[in-house]
Symmetry: C2
Subunit: 470 residues, 2 copies
């Protein structure tokens, strides 16, 4: 494809995306495809000869689109908001079109320096001190793994340079709550700690970690000859946006010499509002912190910012310097390859830079405030309606609800909950995510799509009441 052919095809693609975005509200939210349906429509073997761009786009319309769940739909209340605001989309288009790769600073200086500046903008927007430095990862899964690897290496005085974790005399232990994200346990297992050394600290009635239980578990492990290594706390848990008490946890971590990692992947976006920052009071005492602008803030996926206090330690854990990556600029510049797992890096900062500039901090704040108010509104409706219950405190944009018809309990209630949620999702009118809370299924309504206004909440609430009829 020549640049001129690209110009023509690109204009067509831009129009296609503009049309898609303009019509999201009229599409089914959850894709209706059956398992295997899309695969069956695609040729089993690659084409030998070139095909036209038109033929490819025809297949996009005919085959791909029926398998697309509409994440930008104003009645998308599943998982978490990930809007991909259009300014951010254009920032990513610039990155992709330039096709540069960050291997070293020299391999594209702007890739590194715009990332330095933009992550520092994020730091300021979040009200964090300048003790923090940021780097962009793909996801919080990756960031949590990086954090636990750094914790492991600090606790072992860089065992990786010697016999590794496998040569350590006493096992290291990681602490988190049952409400931390699934990627936290996954990271601990991949980092080699083992499930037997991942402690699930009990939580209180608001689903927040109990710092006194944390301290007691640490004492037990120390008494048994094990080495407490890290605690992962969450600001805004996945299931119900619970808030682990960071200040109290930080005191324990400091006393006990643990690495403290804070996962604020989703809720971190709300910390651009000064009135929300009480939720993560104590965050300054952490060693590492994750905020995902690709969630509620509106950057298009993937864009997860990892903030670190001791960047030198991070670099020592992650760095490699083969001869083919040495350049004359080393020592005077950041080489972000030494700040995370992958060597090659996209120019991800552009999508965040475009987003912040096109929206302005004030614009981003206004949208987050709207969503918080919408969540409060829904909470009030549910709480005021007989048979319905809000099953977790609404701190942010997630409302956890259950319809509890008289006489329905236990597994029968679970089946009922899953059934009405499935009916709602299959209708294509709205999309919610059921999840377990204290062993019982409930329905998460995760608010924050760019297009979601009060009207859409009203529609959702009406749909919920229709589908949950018994």
């Amino acid at each position: 494809m020549t640049p001129d052919e690209f110009r023509k095809a690109g204009h067509r693609l831009i129009d296609w995306i503009a049309d898609y975005r303009a019509t999201v509200a009229s599409r089914p939210v959850m894709a209706r495809a059956e398992p295997g349906e899309i695969k069956a429509k695609l040729p089993a073997s690659p084409p030998q000869a070139a095909e036209s761009f038109e033929a490819i786009m025809d297949d996009v319309d005919r085959i791909v689109m029926p398998g697309i769940t509409t994440w930008q739909h104003p009645r998308f209340f599943g998982y978490f908001p990930s809007n991909g605001l259009l300014a951010s989309v254009l920032g990513d288009y610039l990155s992709t079109g330039l096709g540069v790769i960050g291997l070293t600073w020299q391999s594209s200086p702007a890739l590194t320096e715009v990332e330095e500046v933009t992550t520092d903008w994020m730091r300021q927007m979040l009200g964090l001190s300048d003790a923090w430095s940021g780097v962009i990862n793909d996801t919080a899964s990756t960031g949590s793994l990086v954090a636990l690897l750094c914790a492991r290496e600090r606790a072992t005085d860089y065992s990786l340079a010697r016999g590794g974790l496998q040569a350590e005399p006493q096992p290291l232990v990681v602490y988190t709550s049952a409400h931390s994200h699934s990627s936290v346990e996954k990271a601990a297992l991949l980092a080699g700690f083992g499930k037997a050394h991942v402690r699930i600290v009990p939580h209180d009635t608001e689903f927040a970690m109990r710092p006194e239980s944390l301290d007691a578990m640490i004492a037990d492990d120390l008494a048994a000859g094990r080495r407490p290594c890290a605690v992962v706390a969450t600001t805004g848990t996945t299931t119900c946006t619970a808030l682990d008490p960071l200040e109290a946890i930080a005191r324990v971590a400091k006393n006990r010499n643990l690495w403290m990692h804070v996962d604020a992947a989703m809720a971190g976006s709300a910390m651009i509002l000064p009135e929300c920052r009480w939720m993560w009071a104590g965050v300054e005492e952490a060693d590492s912190l994750i905020v995902n602008p690709h969630k509620w803030l509106g950057a298009v996926f993937d864009c997860s910012v990892y903030f670190v206090r001791d960047a030198e330690h991070l670099v020592r854990v992650m760095s490699t310097t083969p001869s083919y990556l040495k350049t004359a600029a080393d020592g005077r510049v950041k080489n972000y390859r030494d700040w995370g797992l992958p060597l090659g890096r996209r120019f991800r900062a552009l999508k965040l830079w475009f987003l912040i500039r096109e929206q302005g901090v004030a614009g981003l704040q206004a949208r987050i405030r709207r969503d918080l108010a919408n969540a409060k509104w829904l909470e009030e409706q549910v709480a005021a309606t007989p048979g319905w219950r809000v099953v977790a405190p609404v701190r942010l944009q997630t409302v956890c609800v259950r319809h509890e018809p008289a006489g329905l309990t236990g597994e029968a209630l679970d089946r009922y909950t899953l059934e009405w949620a499935a009916r709602l999702n299959q209708s294509g009118e709205a999309y919610v995510t059921p999840a377990l809370l204290d062993g019982r299924w409930m329905v998460r309504v995760s608010i924050g799509a760019e297009l979601t206004e009060r009207m859409h909440l009203e529609q959702l609430w009406s749909l919920m009441q229709q589908d949950a009829v018994r």
Copy 2:
């Protein structure tokens, strides 16, 4: 930004990229920015109020572009070819514009199923048997880490579900050569093996791993009570595209019960040519394999395919199933989150699907053949010129050269080599990567940019002779 504003701004961006791509040959190859220069031009704090798209694009032109190294330049011979062919760029634009995320199959069925089909197309193009299944990662760094984690867990019968690597009685050992990519050692260290348990197997005069040395080192480790765990072999090493003998290594791996991982990140693209497949004879005996379509093949970064034989084992190592990710389709579909590190996944298959369709297999093959012939041509010129030497066999598209003026040896020769390479790079006329080979600096000419024709090799060869004047 509304869809209509996006339409307008998007057309402008498409034109901007088309103009950029049409003029790459007239730009400096290596960015001329000084360390800190770009950063200094950007505001230290984020804007409170929204800015116009025009203002952002003005800053792109004025501030960002001087810091962009032109990876698509026809005289880009640095690192590795990573062209980002424009059809692939459009595939990625579609992915970004749709803004869908793969968390579960249900969260966008097409994201999963197009990836299944497209990675299977890649498998067929590479001449691999249908015992392999593919999944797209960001980079080979990530894939190598996944491979070594899978090796670790197979050797320990899933220690992650028990006490982890740290509870294992005998240390596990990983084997590779000094010429494997830096990310292999990094992966071994992050996986917890420790540097003391990473063996560097000696190589022969063509920089390929010696299987008999591998076997002897394994015997030594067994005798010392250690457990040989994995061997990482490379088809087309980074420095000089050396070819580790996979068949012989596979025999050792099989006898000794080691996981065998093959890194063909760069050279794998050439395996779409039947005449090149002798280079990785024995690959079918490996447990895991990486080929990066984002290198020579032309997919825009990032797109690294990880092929695995025992997908069930991979899923067992990587899977997490919190309640909020359970869906009714589980068990009937692939959930790719359980095939790698991150939970959230972009619709990366689109950029590969667009590339293969728009080029056709025959088109991709023709370009790779052109590049192989260009490398041969340069090899012949260098070999035939007094004072110049080809310092490694030219198997693929990388030509490793040194100018050795009479009387210049040792560190003086190193200084001279680095100086003329720096002069060449600073001229902006071409870009090469110096690297160490057998302890001496030489210059890698990595051929394969989409626009690189014989003429550009002639120009490079002339520039090299001008800059290396003594």
